[in-house]
Symmetry: C2
Subunit: 306 residues, 2 copies
Protein backbone atom coordinates (compact mmCIF):
# COMPACT_ATOMS: atom_id res chain seq x y z
CA UNK A 1 0.00 0.00 0.00
CA UNK A 2 1.60 3.17 -1.18
CA UNK A 3 1.43 6.91 -1.39
CA UNK A 4 3.94 8.83 -3.47
CA UNK A 5 7.61 9.66 -2.97
CA UNK A 6 8.34 7.75 0.27
CA UNK A 7 6.59 4.64 -0.95
CA UNK A 8 8.27 4.78 -4.34
CA UNK A 9 11.72 4.97 -2.72
CA UNK A 10 10.92 1.94 -0.60
CA UNK A 11 9.60 0.04 -3.62
CA UNK A 12 12.88 0.68 -5.46
CA UNK A 13 14.57 -1.41 -2.78
CA UNK A 14 11.80 -3.98 -2.59
CA UNK A 15 11.95 -4.91 -6.28
CA UNK A 16 15.68 -5.57 -5.83
CA UNK A 17 15.10 -8.16 -3.12
CA UNK A 18 11.90 -9.69 -4.53
CA UNK A 19 10.97 -10.64 -8.13
CA UNK A 20 9.24 -7.48 -9.34
CA UNK A 21 6.44 -9.44 -11.00
CA UNK A 22 5.46 -10.78 -7.56
CA UNK A 23 4.77 -7.27 -6.26
CA UNK A 24 1.35 -5.61 -6.35
CA UNK A 25 1.18 -1.96 -5.34
CA UNK A 26 -2.13 -0.49 -4.16
CA UNK A 27 -1.79 3.23 -4.68
CA UNK A 28 -3.55 6.24 -3.20
CA UNK A 29 -5.65 8.25 -5.64
CA UNK A 30 -6.92 10.85 -3.17
CA UNK A 31 -4.35 13.33 -4.52
CA UNK A 32 -5.79 13.03 -8.03
CA UNK A 33 -6.88 16.30 -9.56
CA UNK A 34 -8.01 17.72 -12.88
CA UNK A 35 -5.79 20.54 -14.09
CA UNK A 36 -5.99 22.21 -17.50
CA UNK A 37 -8.65 19.67 -18.38
CA UNK A 38 -6.23 16.80 -17.76
CA UNK A 39 -6.57 14.08 -15.17
CA UNK A 40 -3.49 13.99 -12.96
CA UNK A 41 -2.77 10.99 -10.67
CA UNK A 42 0.36 12.08 -8.82
CA UNK A 43 0.99 9.01 -6.67
CA UNK A 44 0.32 6.51 -9.44
CA UNK A 45 2.77 8.34 -11.68
CA UNK A 46 5.46 8.66 -9.01
CA UNK A 47 5.27 4.92 -8.32
CA UNK A 48 5.19 4.05 -12.04
CA UNK A 49 8.03 6.35 -13.05
CA UNK A 50 10.13 5.17 -10.11
CA UNK A 51 9.67 1.48 -10.91
CA UNK A 52 10.33 2.26 -14.59
CA UNK A 53 13.61 3.86 -13.50
CA UNK A 54 12.78 7.14 -15.21
CA UNK A 55 11.84 9.18 -12.17
CA UNK A 56 13.64 12.43 -11.44
CA UNK A 57 15.45 11.11 -8.37
CA UNK A 58 16.34 14.52 -7.06
CA UNK A 59 12.76 15.77 -6.95
CA UNK A 60 11.23 12.35 -6.29
CA UNK A 61 8.49 13.01 -8.86
CA UNK A 62 8.33 13.71 -12.58
CA UNK A 63 10.58 12.30 -15.27
CA UNK A 64 14.35 12.53 -15.35
CA UNK A 65 15.52 15.22 -17.77
CA UNK A 66 12.01 16.50 -18.42
CA UNK A 67 11.42 20.05 -19.65
CA UNK A 68 8.59 22.44 -18.82
CA UNK A 69 7.99 24.19 -22.13
CA UNK A 70 4.28 23.45 -22.31
CA UNK A 71 3.68 24.72 -18.79
CA UNK A 72 5.60 27.92 -19.54
CA UNK A 73 3.38 28.47 -22.56
CA UNK A 74 0.22 27.75 -20.55
CA UNK A 75 1.33 30.66 -18.35
CA UNK A 76 1.34 32.90 -21.44
CA UNK A 77 -2.33 32.03 -21.87
CA UNK A 78 -2.88 33.21 -18.30
CA UNK A 79 -3.26 29.87 -16.56
CA UNK A 80 -2.09 29.20 -13.05
CA UNK A 81 0.94 26.96 -13.17
CA UNK A 82 1.51 26.04 -9.54
CA UNK A 83 1.40 22.35 -10.32
CA UNK A 84 4.53 21.28 -12.17
CA UNK A 85 3.77 19.36 -15.34
CA UNK A 86 6.78 18.33 -17.39
CA UNK A 87 6.52 17.88 -21.14
CA UNK A 88 7.14 14.12 -21.07
CA UNK A 89 4.99 13.79 -17.96
CA UNK A 90 2.17 15.50 -19.89
CA UNK A 91 2.06 12.57 -22.28
CA UNK A 92 0.92 10.43 -19.34
CA UNK A 93 -1.81 12.90 -18.40
CA UNK A 94 -2.93 13.37 -22.01
CA UNK A 95 -3.10 9.62 -22.51
CA UNK A 96 -4.89 9.03 -19.20
CA UNK A 97 -7.45 11.75 -19.91
CA UNK A 98 -8.12 10.43 -23.38
CA UNK A 99 -8.46 6.80 -22.31
CA UNK A 100 -10.74 7.68 -19.38
CA UNK A 101 -12.93 9.70 -21.78
CA UNK A 102 -13.02 6.69 -24.07
CA UNK A 103 -14.47 4.74 -21.16
CA UNK A 104 -11.50 2.85 -19.73
CA UNK A 105 -11.21 2.58 -15.97
CA UNK A 106 -8.31 4.25 -14.17
CA UNK A 107 -6.97 0.80 -13.28
CA UNK A 108 -6.93 -0.21 -16.96
CA UNK A 109 -5.16 3.01 -17.92
CA UNK A 110 -2.64 2.55 -15.11
CA UNK A 111 -1.96 -1.01 -16.20
CA UNK A 112 -1.49 0.03 -19.81
CA UNK A 113 0.93 2.79 -18.82
CA UNK A 114 3.07 0.70 -16.48
CA UNK A 115 3.37 -2.07 -19.08
CA UNK A 116 4.36 0.43 -21.77
CA UNK A 117 7.09 1.70 -19.46
CA UNK A 118 8.33 -1.80 -18.72
CA UNK A 119 7.19 -2.02 -15.09
CA UNK A 120 6.64 -5.63 -14.07
CA UNK A 121 4.97 -4.93 -10.72
CA UNK A 122 1.18 -4.61 -10.81
CA UNK A 123 0.07 -1.11 -9.94
CA UNK A 124 -3.54 -0.83 -8.76
CA UNK A 125 -5.25 2.47 -8.02
CA UNK A 126 -7.05 2.06 -4.69
CA UNK A 127 -10.28 2.89 -6.53
CA UNK A 128 -11.52 3.65 -10.03
CA UNK A 129 -14.15 5.92 -8.54
CA UNK A 130 -13.97 9.61 -7.83
CA UNK A 131 -12.15 10.18 -4.56
CA UNK A 132 -10.65 13.53 -3.67
CA UNK A 133 -8.89 14.57 -0.51
CA UNK A 134 -9.75 18.03 0.79
CA UNK A 135 -8.08 19.80 3.66
CA UNK A 136 -10.01 22.14 5.92
CA UNK A 137 -7.74 24.98 6.96
CA UNK A 138 -7.96 28.40 8.55
CA UNK A 139 -7.93 29.71 4.95
CA UNK A 140 -10.88 27.54 3.92
CA UNK A 141 -11.40 24.11 2.50
CA UNK A 142 -9.12 23.23 -0.41
CA UNK A 143 -8.05 20.28 -2.54
CA UNK A 144 -5.08 18.49 -1.00
CA UNK A 145 -2.87 19.46 -3.97
CA UNK A 146 -3.78 23.07 -3.48
CA UNK A 147 -2.90 22.81 0.21
CA UNK A 148 0.33 20.93 -0.50
CA UNK A 149 1.69 22.43 -3.71
CA UNK A 150 0.02 25.75 -4.35
CA UNK A 151 0.11 26.95 -0.74
CA UNK A 152 3.14 24.96 0.39
CA UNK A 153 1.36 23.33 3.39
CA UNK A 154 1.44 26.66 5.22
CA UNK A 155 -2.21 26.84 6.27
CA UNK A 156 -3.28 25.62 9.65
CA UNK A 157 -5.03 22.28 9.28
CA UNK A 158 -8.43 21.99 10.95
CA UNK A 159 -9.53 18.74 9.38
CA UNK A 160 -9.37 16.44 6.38
CA UNK A 161 -12.23 15.09 4.33
CA UNK A 162 -12.33 12.44 1.66
CA UNK A 163 -14.91 13.32 -0.98
CA UNK A 164 -16.38 10.28 -2.62
CA UNK A 165 -15.05 7.91 0.06
CA UNK A 166 -18.50 6.62 0.95
CA UNK A 167 -19.31 5.49 -2.57
CA UNK A 168 -15.78 4.50 -3.69
CA UNK A 169 -15.23 0.82 -4.30
CA UNK A 170 -11.77 -0.80 -4.47
CA UNK A 171 -10.59 -1.21 -8.04
CA UNK A 172 -10.58 -4.70 -9.48
CA UNK A 173 -7.87 -6.85 -7.94
CA UNK A 174 -7.36 -4.82 -4.78
CA UNK A 175 -9.33 -7.01 -2.37
CA UNK A 176 -8.19 -10.18 -4.13
CA UNK A 177 -4.54 -9.17 -3.88
CA UNK A 178 -4.94 -8.51 -0.14
CA UNK A 179 -6.67 -11.84 0.40
CA UNK A 180 -4.19 -13.90 -1.61
CA UNK A 181 -1.04 -12.05 -0.57
CA UNK A 182 1.91 -13.79 1.11
CA UNK A 183 2.78 -10.58 2.89
CA UNK A 184 1.44 -7.05 3.01
CA UNK A 185 3.56 -3.95 3.51
CA UNK A 186 2.25 -0.52 4.43
CA UNK A 187 4.85 1.77 2.86
CA UNK A 188 6.35 4.73 4.75
CA UNK A 189 3.68 7.11 3.46
CA UNK A 190 1.51 9.78 5.01
CA UNK A 191 -0.84 7.91 7.39
CA UNK A 192 -3.69 10.38 6.82
CA UNK A 193 -3.75 11.39 3.14
CA UNK A 194 -1.91 8.45 1.54
CA UNK A 195 -2.64 5.35 3.62
CA UNK A 196 -5.69 6.78 5.42
CA UNK A 197 -7.35 7.34 2.05
CA UNK A 198 -6.73 3.74 0.95
CA UNK A 199 -8.10 2.47 4.28
CA UNK A 200 -11.26 4.52 3.82
CA UNK A 201 -12.23 2.83 0.55
CA UNK A 202 -15.05 0.38 1.20
CA UNK A 203 -13.86 -3.07 2.24
CA UNK A 204 -10.10 -2.49 2.21
CA UNK A 205 -9.67 -2.03 5.97
CA UNK A 206 -11.85 -5.10 6.61
CA UNK A 207 -9.85 -7.13 4.08
CA UNK A 208 -6.66 -6.19 5.91
CA UNK A 209 -8.15 -7.16 9.26
CA UNK A 210 -9.09 -10.55 7.85
CA UNK A 211 -5.99 -11.13 5.73
CA UNK A 212 -4.18 -14.38 6.39
CA UNK A 213 -0.84 -12.81 5.49
CA UNK A 214 1.20 -10.87 7.99
CA UNK A 215 1.03 -7.10 7.64
CA UNK A 216 4.09 -4.96 8.25
CA UNK A 217 4.09 -1.18 8.36
CA UNK A 218 7.01 1.20 8.03
CA UNK A 219 6.90 4.43 9.97
CA UNK A 220 7.00 7.61 7.91
CA UNK A 221 7.85 9.49 11.11
CA UNK A 222 11.48 9.69 12.20
CA UNK A 223 12.38 11.41 15.44
CA UNK A 224 8.95 12.94 15.76
CA UNK A 225 8.99 14.43 12.26
CA UNK A 226 7.95 13.18 8.82
CA UNK A 227 10.86 12.40 6.49
CA UNK A 228 9.00 14.31 3.79
CA UNK A 229 5.71 16.08 3.36
CA UNK A 230 3.18 17.57 5.74
CA UNK A 231 2.27 14.48 7.80
CA UNK A 232 3.09 16.38 11.01
CA UNK A 233 0.77 19.25 10.18
CA UNK A 234 -2.03 16.93 9.18
CA UNK A 235 -1.64 14.73 12.27
CA UNK A 236 -1.49 17.76 14.57
CA UNK A 237 -4.51 19.23 12.80
CA UNK A 238 -6.42 16.07 13.61
CA UNK A 239 -5.33 16.22 17.25
CA UNK A 240 -2.85 13.36 16.94
CA UNK A 241 0.62 13.12 18.39
CA UNK A 242 3.31 13.23 15.71
CA UNK A 243 5.09 9.98 16.49
CA UNK A 244 5.68 6.47 15.22
CA UNK A 245 3.40 5.30 18.01
CA UNK A 246 0.53 7.48 16.77
CA UNK A 247 0.92 6.03 13.27
CA UNK A 248 0.97 2.47 14.65
CA UNK A 249 -2.14 3.32 16.61
CA UNK A 250 -3.93 4.26 13.38
CA UNK A 251 -3.07 0.84 11.96
CA UNK A 252 -3.39 -1.26 15.12
CA UNK A 253 -6.51 -3.14 14.03
CA UNK A 254 -4.63 -4.89 11.22
CA UNK A 255 -0.88 -4.40 11.77
CA UNK A 256 1.29 -7.33 12.86
CA UNK A 257 4.64 -5.57 12.91
CA UNK A 258 5.89 -2.00 12.63
CA UNK A 259 9.33 -0.92 11.50
CA UNK A 260 10.42 2.30 13.17
CA UNK A 261 13.59 4.30 12.96
CA UNK A 262 16.36 3.81 15.49
CA UNK A 263 15.72 7.42 16.46
CA UNK A 264 12.32 6.39 17.79
CA UNK A 265 13.39 3.19 19.57
CA UNK A 266 12.18 4.77 22.80
CA UNK A 267 8.65 4.16 21.51
CA UNK A 268 9.11 0.38 21.18
CA UNK A 269 7.34 -0.40 24.43
CA UNK A 270 4.32 1.79 23.71
CA UNK A 271 3.90 0.30 20.21
CA UNK A 272 4.28 -3.26 21.52
CA UNK A 273 1.58 -2.30 24.00
CA UNK A 274 -0.74 -2.04 20.99
CA UNK A 275 -0.09 -5.71 20.27
CA UNK A 276 2.30 -4.98 17.42
CA UNK A 277 5.81 -6.39 16.95
CA UNK A 278 8.37 -3.63 16.60
CA UNK A 279 11.62 -3.56 14.64
CA UNK A 280 13.90 -0.54 15.06
CA UNK A 281 16.33 0.06 12.20
CA UNK A 282 17.47 2.85 9.89
CA UNK A 283 14.42 3.92 7.89
CA UNK A 284 15.87 6.99 6.19
CA UNK A 285 16.46 6.06 2.54
CA UNK A 286 19.33 8.10 1.15
CA UNK A 287 21.10 5.49 -0.96
CA UNK A 288 19.99 2.39 -2.82
CA UNK A 289 21.70 0.40 -0.06
CA UNK A 290 19.42 2.09 2.50
CA UNK A 291 16.41 1.15 0.38
CA UNK A 292 17.51 -2.45 0.00
CA UNK A 293 18.24 -2.79 3.72
CA UNK A 294 14.82 -1.44 4.62
CA UNK A 295 13.16 -3.79 2.12
CA UNK A 296 15.05 -6.70 3.65
CA UNK A 297 13.96 -5.63 7.12
CA UNK A 298 10.36 -5.56 5.91
CA UNK A 299 10.63 -9.03 4.36
CA UNK A 300 12.20 -10.33 7.58
CA UNK A 301 9.36 -8.83 9.59
CA UNK A 302 6.84 -10.50 7.28
CA UNK A 303 8.48 -13.86 7.99
CA UNK A 304 8.60 -13.36 11.77
CA UNK A 305 6.10 -15.17 13.86
CA UNK A 306 4.83 -12.76 16.49
CA UNK B 1 -9.73 34.77 -46.02
CA UNK B 2 -6.94 32.43 -45.13
CA UNK B 3 -5.70 28.89 -44.99
CA UNK B 4 -2.41 28.09 -43.28
CA UNK B 5 1.20 28.63 -44.28
CA UNK B 6 0.75 30.59 -47.55
CA UNK B 7 -1.84 32.87 -46.03
CA UNK B 8 0.20 33.44 -42.89
CA UNK B 9 3.22 34.49 -44.94
CA UNK B 10 1.13 36.95 -46.88
CA UNK B 11 -0.40 38.32 -43.67
CA UNK B 12 3.08 38.98 -42.29
CA UNK B 13 3.55 41.46 -45.11
CA UNK B 14 0.02 42.83 -44.89
CA UNK B 15 0.29 43.86 -41.23
CA UNK B 16 3.42 45.80 -42.13
CA UNK B 17 1.60 47.95 -44.70
CA UNK B 18 -1.74 48.22 -42.84
CA UNK B 19 -2.47 48.87 -39.13
CA UNK B 20 -2.77 45.32 -37.79
CA UNK B 21 -5.85 46.17 -35.74
CA UNK B 22 -7.68 46.97 -38.99
CA UNK B 23 -7.18 43.43 -40.27
CA UNK B 24 -9.71 40.63 -39.77
CA UNK B 25 -8.67 37.15 -40.84
CA UNK B 26 -11.33 34.54 -41.61
CA UNK B 27 -9.58 31.22 -41.22
CA UNK B 28 -10.30 27.74 -42.54
CA UNK B 29 -11.19 25.16 -39.89
CA UNK B 30 -11.72 22.22 -42.23
CA UNK B 31 -8.28 20.88 -41.28
CA UNK B 32 -9.26 20.72 -37.62
CA UNK B 33 -8.86 17.32 -36.04
CA UNK B 34 -8.94 15.68 -32.63
CA UNK B 35 -5.71 13.90 -31.78
CA UNK B 36 -4.84 12.35 -28.42
CA UNK B 37 -8.12 13.77 -27.15
CA UNK B 38 -7.00 17.31 -28.00
CA UNK B 39 -8.66 19.64 -30.46
CA UNK B 40 -6.14 20.81 -33.06
CA UNK B 41 -6.88 23.80 -35.33
CA UNK B 42 -3.84 23.88 -37.60
CA UNK B 43 -4.66 26.91 -39.74
CA UNK B 44 -5.84 29.07 -36.84
CA UNK B 45 -2.62 28.31 -34.99
CA UNK B 46 -0.37 28.93 -37.98
CA UNK B 47 -2.00 32.32 -38.55
CA UNK B 48 -1.92 33.21 -34.84
CA UNK B 49 1.67 32.12 -34.25
CA UNK B 50 2.79 33.91 -37.41
CA UNK B 51 1.13 37.20 -36.48
CA UNK B 52 2.49 36.80 -32.93
CA UNK B 53 5.96 36.49 -34.47
CA UNK B 54 6.61 33.18 -32.75
CA UNK B 55 6.11 30.86 -35.70
CA UNK B 56 8.86 28.47 -36.73
CA UNK B 57 9.64 30.30 -39.99
CA UNK B 58 11.55 27.43 -41.48
CA UNK B 59 8.70 24.96 -41.16
CA UNK B 60 5.93 27.55 -41.52
CA UNK B 61 3.99 25.99 -38.62
CA UNK B 62 4.59 25.39 -34.94
CA UNK B 63 6.48 27.58 -32.53
CA UNK B 64 10.05 28.75 -32.96
CA UNK B 65 12.43 26.74 -30.77
CA UNK B 66 9.77 24.28 -29.69
CA UNK B 67 10.68 20.80 -28.49
CA UNK B 68 8.85 17.51 -29.01
CA UNK B 69 9.37 15.74 -25.70
CA UNK B 70 5.70 15.08 -25.01
CA UNK B 71 5.16 13.59 -28.45
CA UNK B 72 8.19 11.35 -28.04
CA UNK B 73 6.74 10.09 -24.78
CA UNK B 74 3.32 9.55 -26.35
CA UNK B 75 5.11 7.20 -28.74
CA UNK B 76 6.36 5.20 -25.74
CA UNK B 77 2.72 4.67 -24.81
CA UNK B 78 2.19 3.29 -28.30
CA UNK B 79 0.38 6.20 -29.90
CA UNK B 80 0.77 7.16 -33.52
CA UNK B 81 2.73 10.37 -33.72
CA UNK B 82 2.45 11.32 -37.36
CA UNK B 83 1.10 14.75 -36.50
CA UNK B 84 3.82 16.92 -35.04
CA UNK B 85 2.83 18.53 -31.77
CA UNK B 86 5.49 20.64 -30.09
CA UNK B 87 5.57 21.06 -26.33
CA UNK B 88 4.74 24.79 -26.39
CA UNK B 89 2.24 24.21 -29.17
CA UNK B 90 0.51 21.64 -26.95
CA UNK B 91 -0.34 24.39 -24.49
CA UNK B 92 -2.56 25.88 -27.20
CA UNK B 93 -4.31 22.57 -27.84
CA UNK B 94 -4.69 21.81 -24.13
CA UNK B 95 -6.15 25.25 -23.53
CA UNK B 96 -8.45 25.05 -26.55
CA UNK B 97 -9.72 21.60 -25.60
CA UNK B 98 -10.36 22.67 -22.03
CA UNK B 99 -12.16 25.89 -22.96
CA UNK B 100 -14.32 24.17 -25.59
CA UNK B 101 -15.27 21.54 -22.99
CA UNK B 102 -16.18 24.37 -20.63
CA UNK B 103 -18.60 25.58 -23.27
CA UNK B 104 -16.74 28.39 -25.03
CA UNK B 105 -17.05 28.66 -28.79
CA UNK B 106 -14.00 28.12 -30.98
CA UNK B 107 -14.15 31.79 -31.95
CA UNK B 108 -14.01 32.83 -28.29
CA UNK B 109 -11.08 30.52 -27.64
CA UNK B 110 -9.28 31.80 -30.74
CA UNK B 111 -9.82 35.39 -29.66
CA UNK B 112 -8.53 34.69 -26.17
CA UNK B 113 -5.43 32.99 -27.53
CA UNK B 114 -4.52 35.64 -30.09
CA UNK B 115 -4.94 38.40 -27.47
CA UNK B 116 -2.75 36.49 -24.99
CA UNK B 117 -0.06 36.26 -27.68
CA UNK B 118 -0.30 39.97 -28.49
CA UNK B 119 -1.91 39.64 -31.93
CA UNK B 120 -3.88 42.78 -32.80
CA UNK B 121 -5.58 41.43 -35.92
CA UNK B 122 -8.94 39.75 -35.34
CA UNK B 123 -8.79 36.06 -36.14
CA UNK B 124 -12.17 34.45 -36.85
CA UNK B 125 -12.63 30.74 -37.44
CA UNK B 126 -14.87 30.37 -40.50
CA UNK B 127 -17.29 28.47 -38.29
CA UNK B 128 -17.71 27.40 -34.67
CA UNK B 129 -19.50 24.29 -35.85
CA UNK B 130 -18.07 20.90 -36.67
CA UNK B 131 -16.59 20.95 -40.17
CA UNK B 132 -14.11 18.36 -41.33
CA UNK B 133 -12.52 17.95 -44.70
CA UNK B 134 -12.21 14.40 -45.97
CA UNK B 135 -10.38 13.29 -49.08
CA UNK B 136 -11.61 10.35 -51.12
CA UNK B 137 -8.60 8.49 -52.50
CA UNK B 138 -7.76 5.21 -54.12
CA UNK B 139 -6.78 4.07 -50.60
CA UNK B 140 -10.16 5.05 -49.15
CA UNK B 141 -11.72 8.09 -47.59
CA UNK B 142 -9.56 9.83 -44.98
CA UNK B 143 -9.39 13.01 -42.94
CA UNK B 144 -7.50 15.73 -44.80
CA UNK B 145 -4.73 15.72 -42.16
CA UNK B 146 -4.30 12.00 -42.62
CA UNK B 147 -4.07 12.47 -46.39
CA UNK B 148 -1.69 15.42 -46.06
CA UNK B 149 0.53 14.60 -43.09
CA UNK B 150 0.28 10.91 -42.32
CA UNK B 151 0.35 9.74 -45.92
CA UNK B 152 2.25 12.68 -47.40
CA UNK B 153 -0.36 13.46 -50.10
CA UNK B 154 0.70 10.36 -51.99
CA UNK B 155 -2.74 8.83 -52.57
CA UNK B 156 -4.62 9.49 -55.76
CA UNK B 157 -7.41 11.96 -55.07
CA UNK B 158 -10.84 10.94 -56.30
CA UNK B 159 -12.86 13.60 -54.52
CA UNK B 160 -13.17 15.88 -51.53
CA UNK B 161 -16.03 16.15 -49.08
CA UNK B 162 -16.75 18.64 -46.37
CA UNK B 163 -18.45 16.94 -43.43
CA UNK B 164 -20.71 19.27 -41.54
CA UNK B 165 -20.70 21.89 -44.31
CA UNK B 166 -24.46 21.80 -44.71
CA UNK B 167 -25.16 22.66 -41.09
CA UNK B 168 -22.14 24.88 -40.41
CA UNK B 169 -22.89 28.53 -39.81
CA UNK B 170 -20.30 31.30 -40.04
CA UNK B 171 -18.88 32.21 -36.65
CA UNK B 172 -19.98 35.49 -35.15
CA UNK B 173 -18.47 38.45 -36.97
CA UNK B 174 -17.68 36.66 -40.22
CA UNK B 175 -20.59 37.92 -42.31
CA UNK B 176 -20.48 41.34 -40.63
CA UNK B 177 -16.77 41.72 -41.38
CA UNK B 178 -17.37 40.86 -45.04
CA UNK B 179 -20.28 43.33 -45.27
CA UNK B 180 -18.47 46.19 -43.56
CA UNK B 181 -15.02 45.59 -45.04
CA UNK B 182 -13.16 48.26 -47.05
CA UNK B 183 -11.43 45.54 -49.01
CA UNK B 184 -11.37 41.77 -49.04
CA UNK B 185 -8.34 39.63 -49.86
CA UNK B 186 -8.40 35.96 -50.69
CA UNK B 187 -4.98 34.80 -49.52
CA UNK B 188 -2.76 32.54 -51.65
CA UNK B 189 -4.18 29.39 -50.10
CA UNK B 190 -5.40 26.08 -51.41
CA UNK B 191 -8.56 26.89 -53.43
CA UNK B 192 -10.21 23.57 -52.53
CA UNK B 193 -9.41 22.70 -48.92
CA UNK B 194 -8.59 26.15 -47.51
CA UNK B 195 -10.67 28.71 -49.40
CA UNK B 196 -13.19 26.23 -50.81
CA UNK B 197 -14.08 25.20 -47.27
CA UNK B 198 -14.67 28.79 -46.18
CA UNK B 199 -16.83 29.39 -49.27
CA UNK B 200 -18.94 26.33 -48.45
CA UNK B 201 -20.03 27.64 -45.05
CA UNK B 202 -23.61 28.86 -45.27
CA UNK B 203 -23.91 32.49 -46.37
CA UNK B 204 -20.23 33.31 -46.84
CA UNK B 205 -20.15 32.94 -50.62
CA UNK B 206 -23.36 34.98 -50.91
CA UNK B 207 -21.94 37.68 -48.61
CA UNK B 208 -18.89 37.93 -50.87
CA UNK B 209 -21.07 38.19 -53.99
CA UNK B 210 -22.98 41.03 -52.37
CA UNK B 211 -20.06 42.77 -50.65
CA UNK B 212 -19.67 46.45 -51.49
CA UNK B 213 -15.90 46.22 -51.06
CA UNK B 214 -13.63 45.10 -53.85
CA UNK B 215 -12.36 41.54 -53.57
CA UNK B 216 -8.83 40.65 -54.63
CA UNK B 217 -7.46 37.14 -54.82
CA UNK B 218 -3.86 36.00 -54.93
CA UNK B 219 -3.03 32.89 -56.91
CA UNK B 220 -1.50 30.03 -54.95
CA UNK B 221 -0.45 28.50 -58.28
CA UNK B 222 2.84 29.62 -59.83
CA UNK B 223 3.88 28.26 -63.20
CA UNK B 224 1.22 25.58 -63.11
CA UNK B 225 2.28 24.30 -59.68
CA UNK B 226 1.30 25.16 -56.12
CA UNK B 227 3.98 27.03 -54.16
CA UNK B 228 3.33 24.64 -51.28
CA UNK B 229 0.99 21.80 -50.49
CA UNK B 230 -1.11 19.43 -52.54
CA UNK B 231 -3.34 21.92 -54.39
CA UNK B 232 -2.30 20.39 -57.72
CA UNK B 233 -3.28 16.86 -56.67
CA UNK B 234 -6.60 18.02 -55.26
CA UNK B 235 -7.41 20.14 -58.32
CA UNK B 236 -6.47 17.32 -60.66
CA UNK B 237 -8.49 14.89 -58.58
CA UNK B 238 -11.51 17.12 -59.05
CA UNK B 239 -10.92 17.28 -62.80
CA UNK B 240 -9.64 20.85 -62.74
CA UNK B 241 -6.71 22.29 -64.63
CA UNK B 242 -3.84 23.24 -62.32
CA UNK B 243 -3.50 26.90 -63.25
CA UNK B 244 -4.07 30.41 -62.00
CA UNK B 245 -6.96 30.59 -64.44
CA UNK B 246 -8.65 27.55 -62.89
CA UNK B 247 -8.37 29.15 -59.44
CA UNK B 248 -9.80 32.42 -60.73
CA UNK B 249 -12.61 30.46 -62.30
CA UNK B 250 -13.51 28.99 -58.87
CA UNK B 251 -13.78 32.55 -57.51
CA UNK B 252 -15.27 34.28 -60.55
CA UNK B 253 -18.68 34.92 -59.02
CA UNK B 254 -17.22 37.32 -56.44
CA UNK B 255 -13.66 38.21 -57.47
CA UNK B 256 -12.87 41.71 -58.79
CA UNK B 257 -9.14 41.29 -59.31
CA UNK B 258 -6.64 38.45 -59.28
CA UNK B 259 -2.94 38.72 -58.62
CA UNK B 260 -0.97 36.08 -60.49
CA UNK B 261 2.71 35.38 -60.73
CA UNK B 262 4.78 36.77 -63.58
CA UNK B 263 5.39 33.15 -64.54
CA UNK B 264 1.70 32.85 -65.38
CA UNK B 265 1.30 36.15 -67.25
CA UNK B 266 0.35 34.14 -70.32
CA UNK B 267 -2.97 33.47 -68.57
CA UNK B 268 -3.90 37.17 -68.23
CA UNK B 269 -6.23 37.14 -71.20
CA UNK B 270 -8.11 34.03 -70.13
CA UNK B 271 -8.61 35.36 -66.61
CA UNK B 272 -9.71 38.77 -67.87
CA UNK B 273 -12.17 36.83 -70.00
CA UNK B 274 -13.85 35.82 -66.70
CA UNK B 275 -14.49 39.50 -66.01
CA UNK B 276 -11.67 39.76 -63.49
CA UNK B 277 -8.88 42.38 -63.45
CA UNK B 278 -5.45 40.76 -63.51
CA UNK B 279 -2.19 41.93 -61.99
CA UNK B 280 0.97 39.95 -62.75
CA UNK B 281 3.80 40.34 -60.24
CA UNK B 282 6.15 38.22 -58.15
CA UNK B 283 3.99 36.18 -55.79
CA UNK B 284 6.68 33.89 -54.37
CA UNK B 285 7.34 35.07 -50.80
CA UNK B 286 10.90 34.25 -49.85
CA UNK B 287 11.85 37.39 -47.92
CA UNK B 288 9.92 39.91 -45.86
CA UNK B 289 10.43 42.32 -48.76
CA UNK B 290 8.62 39.84 -51.05
CA UNK B 291 5.77 39.67 -48.56
CA UNK B 292 5.51 43.44 -48.23
CA UNK B 293 5.59 43.93 -52.02
CA UNK B 294 2.81 41.38 -52.48
CA UNK B 295 0.74 43.03 -49.73
CA UNK B 296 1.23 46.40 -51.44
CA UNK B 297 0.16 44.92 -54.76
CA UNK B 298 -2.97 43.56 -53.09
CA UNK B 299 -3.80 46.93 -51.52
CA UNK B 300 -3.24 48.63 -54.87
CA UNK B 301 -5.57 46.12 -56.55
CA UNK B 302 -8.20 46.82 -53.89
CA UNK B 303 -8.03 50.52 -54.73
CA UNK B 304 -8.20 49.99 -58.53
CA UNK B 305 -11.46 50.71 -60.23
CA UNK B 306 -12.04 47.94 -62.75
Amino acid sequence: MAGGVGAARFLQGLVRVLPEENVTVIVNTGDDIELHGLRISPDIDIVTYTLADIVDEEKGWGIKGDTFHCLEFLKRYGYEAWFNLGDMDLATHISRTRLLREGLRLSEVTDRHRRALGVKARILPMTDDRFETYVKTNAGKMHFQEYLVKRGSTDQVLGVCFEGAEEAKPSQGVLESIESSDGIIVCPSNPIVSIGTILSVGGIREALQEASARIVGISPIVGGRPVKGPADKLMEGLGLEVSAHAVADLYKDFLDAFIIDNADSGECGRIEGLGIDVIATNTVMRSMLDKISLAEAALKALRMRG
